[in-house]
Structures are given as C-alpha cells and as structure tokens.
Symmetry: none
C-alpha cells in the first residue's frame, strides 16, 4: 500500500493547486481590476504548468504502475476507484506536452479577455486571429489526447468534461430530441397563445432586495455559507475551492427573475460540490463525476424544483412581501412567466423548450470545427443558418450570434452538449426522486428542500466519482438516460395546464 498512499499524498497536493487555481479564477471573473488581466493569465498558466509537471512527472507514473501491480488486491472499493481515477487524470495529462498545455492556456486566457471587447463591439473579424489560436491549440490537444486514449479528437475533448461520454453516445440521443423539437415547439406556442398573457411583474427591483432574497433561498436550498460565498460577475458561475464554493450572479433592477433563478441554478452546482464525501474531498474519486451530472444538479434545483408548482406557491408570497403587494404575484402568474416559451437569440436566456436547439447547434458546429469540416471564418454564417433552421429566427449580428458565449474563446470545446445531457438527466432524476419520496413535493411547497437534498446526497453527491455517470443515472432512476423521459416532461410542463 506504500505506492498507493504516496499517490494519495501527491494527489492531495494537486488538489491544493486546483483550489488555488479555483480562487484565482473566481477572483478574475468577479473582482479583479482590468489591468491585472495579463499578469493573472501568467499566474494561472504558471500554476497550471506546475500542476501538469507534478501530475506527469516520471515518479507519478512509476507509483501508478507499482500501485496497480502491488496494491490492487488490498484496496477497498473507493481506493480502487480512486486509483482508477488517478490513472485517468494521469493519462489525460501525459498525452499533452507541457508547451502545448501552456500555449493552450495562454491562448484561451488572452482570447477570453479580448472576447469581452469584441462581443461589445460586434467584431468577429477582430477576434478571429485569437480565436483561431484557441481552436488550433484545442484541436492539437484533442488529437494528442485522442491518440493516447483511443478516442477521436472531439471525444477526447468531451472526455475532459464528461468522462465516458462520446459522440456515439450523444448522437442518437440528440437526434431523437431534435426530431421531436419543431413539432413540440409549434404545439407549445399554439397552446400558449390560447392562454391569457402573464401580468407584467411590478418593478423596479432594488438590487439590495434581490440579493437578500436570493441569499435566503440559496440557504433554504441547503447552501452552507460557512464554506462558500455569493457574489456578482458578468457571467454567472460556480467556482472556488473544495471548502470554499463560490457562486456568482448578475442583477438587473428591471428584472428580478434572472438573478434569482441564476442563483438557484448555481446553488444546484454548489450543493453537489458541498455534498461530496468529506473523507475523499482532496482525492480524484471524491470529485464531481462530470459536467452532465453537474448541470443536472443545477437544472434540477432551478428548473425541476424551483419552477415547479409546489415551490412557486411558496415563492409567490415571499415576492409579494419583498417587492410590494400586487396581483401579479400569484403562483399561477409566476408559472406563466417562468414557463413562457419564446424562441430567442440568446442561449442563456432561452426557455427549456428552445434551449436544446441552442445546444444542438453549438454541438454540431464545434464537432465540425474540431474535425476541420468547417472553417472558423465561416462560423458566423453557419451559426446563423443553423439557428434559423432550428427555431426559425434570424441572427441580426454576431454579438447576439456566435460571439455570445464565453466557451469557445475561453477554450472550453466539447463542453456544450453537457448542458442538454444535464437537462435530460435532471428531469429523469427529479421524476425518480418524486416517485420514491412522496413528501418531496409537499415539502417544496413550504420552502423545505431537505427531502430532495437528502435524496440527491444519497443518489448523486456522495457517489462522487466512484462509478460512471451512466451507472449513477441508471441506479438512481432505474433506466438509462432516455430522451423520451425528457420529452414527456416538457409535454407535461408546457402543455398540460
């Protein structure tokens, strides 16, 4: 067990570097002064290189070999899974030479900063050289990892975010989803047109009140504030470190709903992070399984729990109390707001029915870009054509088109599909939880998330990376991930009322 224990110490050190990187990354998005961008990029690159060197040095490899040869028989289930995850992380890391790691990291950091301005100025052409640098380094990373792991370049990129998920797994599920979408969308829009339009919600909504309410609901959902923070950033996210989970949101005085649902969404991510098994926090097996399950946790809280009738009946009087008495604060009217379907340009503003279309488009485009079947210069046209075909609207400018997301400039290629895989997983998990815990829904109607949280702790959070995403889903729900369940959920929520 000597080799295995030496590996545990080594990976604990890596975990501390990850934590440091998490805090530096949070700081960059939330509060860093603009003039520090270059230096911060270098700090992050330096720590990433040191992390890479530690993970890939020959001693790690020797220890892994020795542990697999000498210790395997003596390991318990979690230790064995931990050793497997160590090997997986090591395999990903050694596949990419150090200078490519550094080049990819620097390209992404530089491009991400430039993207903020390029988006504001609608300047795709201006960003193109830096974005090309990002794409080229990502393709190289995909090729290098693919060669080592026996995967295609795009599958290798996917595997970074969602271990075990491949194009072969996604394609039929997404095809089935896409097939049903246009008809469902038309049906929902027609159904909606027959309903009375929602009463306008009476703003403005002072930021201080929004912040207080968001904090209150975040705590109600189970967020542990002694091990995390809520702050503000342009692009909301959940980051930070193991015992210091940081979620961010952005406030708009004319609309309380974005920030509130944003916080609840990020709270779902945070609950997963905070619910991982304490004794494995600093080890690979203790990490969240992947981005599909991560997104399933955020969407489960935001979409399944908090936009459902039970929770809205709890939320309505709270909103009335916070923002002043008005007939618009009825659960029914809130429901009509929160379930308003309106095909639009912006992915992050999209409703549940059209959101998959935004993801399907990006998934197709990034697959083609990585494969070399699409040139980056042709991205705007392909993006605009794709959106028109999927949900029938025209993109007026790149700012609201292919420049809208941080993922590509920031180097997160292979990430987009996990949003919709996560949405499907959320619906499937919530349906299973509600079936097995009849008290769940009545409790949500009183603002009590404890039954739901306990079920999630047991069936998802505490499993961390001890098994695969597919197995966690099928053990928790009794079925493999199934597009039909998601479609049934959409029909139920958007048609049956």
């Amino acid at each position: 067990m000597q080799a295995y224990h030496a590996l545990e110490r080594r990976f604990a050190r890596l975990s501390r570097l990850d934590g440091a990187l998490g805090i530096l990354g949070w700081d960059k998005e939330a509060i860093m002064p603009l003039g520090a961008a270059t230096e911060r990029g270098e700090q992050i690159a330096t720590l990433s290189v040191i992390r890479h060197e530690l993970l890939t040095d020959s001693e790690t490899d020797e220890l892994l070999d020795r542990a697999e040869r000498d210790d395997a028989g003596a390991l318990d289930t979690w230790q064995a899974a931990n050793l497997r995850e160590m090997r997986r992380q090591h395999a990903h890391a050694v596949a990419v030479p150090g200078d490519l790691v550094e080049a990819a990291s620097r390209a992404a950091t530089t491009c991400e900063v430039a993207w903020r301005q390029a988006r504001a100025e609608n300047d795709f052409a201006g960003l193109l050289p830096l974005l090309t640098e990002v794409l080229e380094t990502q393709r190289e990373v995909g090729r290098a990892k693919g060669a080592a792991l026996g995967l295609s370049p795009y599958d290798a990129l996917l595997d970074q975010y969602d271990p075990g998920t491949t194009q072969a797994f996604i394609d039929p599920i997404f095809a089935r989803l896409q097939e049903g979408l246009p008809a469902l969308l038309a049906e929902v829009l027609e159904h909606q047109a027959r309903l009375p339009p929602p009463l306008p919600l009476p703003g403005p909504f002072p930021v201080a009140l929004q912040r207080e309410l968001a904090g209150q609901l975040m705590r109600a959902a189970g967020f542990d504030e002694s091990r995390g923070r809520l702050d503000t950033s342009t692009h909301p996210f959940c980051g930070g470190a193991t015992d210091d989970v940081r979620i961010t949101t952005r406030y708009d005085e004319s609309d309380f709903s974005g920030a509130l649902m944003g916080v609840l969404h990020e709270t779902g991510h945070a609950l997963y992070e905070q619910g991982r098994p304490r004794e494995w926090l600093s080890q690979p097996v203790g990490q969240a399984r992947g981005m599909t399950l991560h997104e399933s946790q955020s969407l489960l809280i935001e979409m399944q729990a908090c936009r459902g009738d039970a929770f809205l009946s709890y939320l309505a009087p709270l909103l009335r109390q916070t923002f002043g008495d008005n007939a618009a604060w009825s659960p029914e009217n809130l429901g009509r707001h929160y379930r308003r379907v309106r095909p639009g340009l912006i992915r992050v503003d999209a409703d549940e029915v059209t959101y998959p279309a935004h993801v399907l488009l990006r998934y197709q485009l990034e697959k083609s870009l990585i494969a070399g079947d699409l040139a980056l210069a042709d991205l705007p046209a392909a993006f605009n054509d794709g959106l028109r075909a999927l949900i029938g609207i025209d993109v007026p400018d790149d700012r609201r088109g292919c420049l809208q997301d941080i993922h590509w400039p920031g180097g997160a290629w292979g990430y987009f599909p996990t949003y919709t895989l996560g949405a499907m997983t959320a619906a499937q998990l919530f349906a299973a939880a509600t079936r097995s815990e009849p008290r769940l829904d009545p409790r949500l109607a009183t603002g009590d998330f404890s039954v739901l949280l306990e079920w999630l702790r047991l069936n998802v959070h505490r499993k961390a990376s001890v098994s695969t995403t597919a197995r966690i889903v099928s053990e928790a729900t009794g079925r493999e991930l199934d597009a039909a369940i998601y479609q049934a959920y959409l029909r139920d929520r958007y048609l049956e009322r």
Copy 2:
C-alpha cells in the same frame, strides 16, 4: 548571457507564484468564508513549498555560478543588480535547512494562534513555552543566515526585511533620537496644554460616505484603480500582486479618521508598488527595496502630506460637504486633532512624537533576546521598565504591554526598527521634495498630488532595488539618514504653531 536569461525566466516564475500567494493571502484576510481556513492554509503552504523548492534547487545555484562567472561582464547596470539580488534571495533561502524552515514556521503559526488567546487573557506565563520555541528557532535562523551572509544573527534577521540595514547602522541613529525624545515630549505636552482643546468631530459617519471619500482621496493621491482595489478587512494592509495592488481598511461609524488615514497610509505603500519600473516588475531588482523605504512611502503620504497644513486646507471643506456643516470642520481644528500628542500604552495608536519610543524599546529588547542577554521570562519587567523610562507611563498588564504586538509570536523578529527608520526617511524625503519642488505644497492645498508623486517616482519608486536603501536616501535628499532632520520636523510640526 544564456545562464542569466535562464535565471530571469526562473525568477519570473517565482514572481508569478508570489502574485498568486498575494491574491490568496488577500482573499483570506478580506473575504474568505471561515470554513475554508484549513484548506486555504494548505493551499498557501503548498505554494510556499513549491516556491522554496524552485528557488533552492541545484539548477538555480548552478545558473547563478555560471552567470556570475560567464555573463557578469556583459550585463548592464540593472541586469548586474538583478543578478546580485537573485544571489541574495538564493543565499537567504539555502542558508536555512528545510527542517529548520519547517520548525520555525510551525512554531510561529502555533504561537500566533495561542497569542490571540494569551493576549485576551493577559497570560504571558502561559504563552512563554511557545514563545520560547519561536525565539529559539528565530535565533537558529539568524545564526544559519548570519553564517552564510557574514552577518551577526540579529543583522541576518534584519536583512530579511531591510537588506543592508545593520545594528551598527541603526544604533547611533536611534541613540541620537532617544537622547532628544524626553525633552521634546515634555515641551510638546506643555505647548499643547496652552492651546484650546480640539472641538469634537460631529459623527456618526456612515460607512458608505467614508468609503466614497476614501476612494476619492486614494485616487487623488495617484492610486491606479485599473491595477488595484480598495476593500475591507479586520487588519488593514497592502497586498495582492504586481499589477493588482490591494489595500484594505476597516470602518468605524463613530470615527472617520482611522479609516481615512488608514487608506491614505496604505495608498502610500500601494503607490510604491505601482510605481516600480514596468520592465523589471517580475524580477528581483524590480522589487521594492525593503521595509524602511516601504514604510517611508506610507508615512510620507499619511503623515507628511496628508496631515500637513496644505492638504488639511483641501480636506476640511470636503469633510464638511460629506458629513454636514459644522464649525469643527476647519483646517485648524482638524490639525489639532491630527497632531494631538498623548503618551499611551499601545504602539499602533501612538502619535508621531511618542511612536519612536515604542519602537526603540522593542528594538533594544529583541536585540537582547536574540543575543541571549535577556531571558524571555524577564521580558515583561524589562518592557514595563523601558516604557516608563521612555515616556513615563506605567504598564498595568502584559495585554497592553509586551503581549500587544503580533510580531514576536508571529516570528517577525528584526522587523520593528523599520517603522521608525521609515518615519525618519519619510520626513527627510518630504523635506527634500518640498525644497526641490516649490509647487508641491500649493498643489497639495488643491488636492493635487502629481508634483509629489512625480518626485517620488523619480527618486524612489523607479529605483526599485537597483541600489541600496542608504544610497537611494542620500541621492534623493543629499544627506545620509539623519536623526536631526526628523527631530527638526517634529519640532516644526508639534511646536511651531
């Protein structure tokens, strides 16, 4: 030049680790949730060990040898100074064996935690074993570094905070200062007793207004907000990274003056950091010279510039405008507040006339403790006798006596003298600046710091570590550091009005 350039790359990497540590340290003090304390400690320890390993590994030593042998003739002034500073940092780091580094760090961390309670409970005897551990490890560090650098143990400790400063340099200056102090203090107190007491300043002072005013003055003084931030913490400090200088303060609604002068003090530190030469920012020669010059910059802004008549005539109407009309907001009344002399027990609350006494005492005591001429068990009595002799007041308990400061339990031995060396340097620099720039004072009366800042940039900030503290002071002021100049300044400010 190959070896030299390799060293530049290596030290740039160290600088990025320092920057990361600076941001993590700031975050810990300013905003970290309490539950993250253990994990953050581990992150910081991990980065510190990685930094130490990189600085002390055999390759650094070989590169230094090769650069000194092969490249020295080809280096320009700044490069040569950079190589000298690299060698200095390396010599400090390798002088101490790893187990002593760890023992000293552990003793200080443990003692610092225990000290918070011991101070609250006035329990010197209880702290004595842990404090002995700190003193013993610091003496060993001093002996080890002294042997490597050809210095006495105490000089070696001093050299960590203020390179080049020695006991032989300090002793005559402090002796001269001490000689004049009791008479000056008596004279000032007598003079002050003849003046009308200051009118009370009309509070409360809402935090939001204090923060706005502090920010405004910080910017007026020249703080570049695109490369830094102002935030809140229990213990105000200036930290962060090269292009991201972070200062903190604490607000008290019943007293605006602490936060305001605190921000201006930290702004002085920040201006030094932000004014270092850009092309050398990531190199040892581009670092601030030492704690004497650093403290001189904070005190120059706070004490010399902002408590002077010119600036107070600008500040008075601003305060009236911010906090409401009142006769107390006259420049004369503010002057009487800011120049109130009142011998007291607590160093950090002391006025400019009595502050040196607190430092002289601590300097004598820590020299004797390191030399072994004073036993730690006899410290309380020696402290109390010393304070009585210097400013004539009795210490009622150790809590307000030798237990008041974090420095000794925290392992910062050899740091105290830089406070008073800094105060003297500030007065000498400001006098020289005012002589050479007649516009300086009239400009301060309009809230315009640009003439002062330009002079400081040229004479202090841009010199970074290219020469010694002594030489920077004598080149800027035409004289070596001279206690008479400081005494003349104190007489002028505290007697001549």
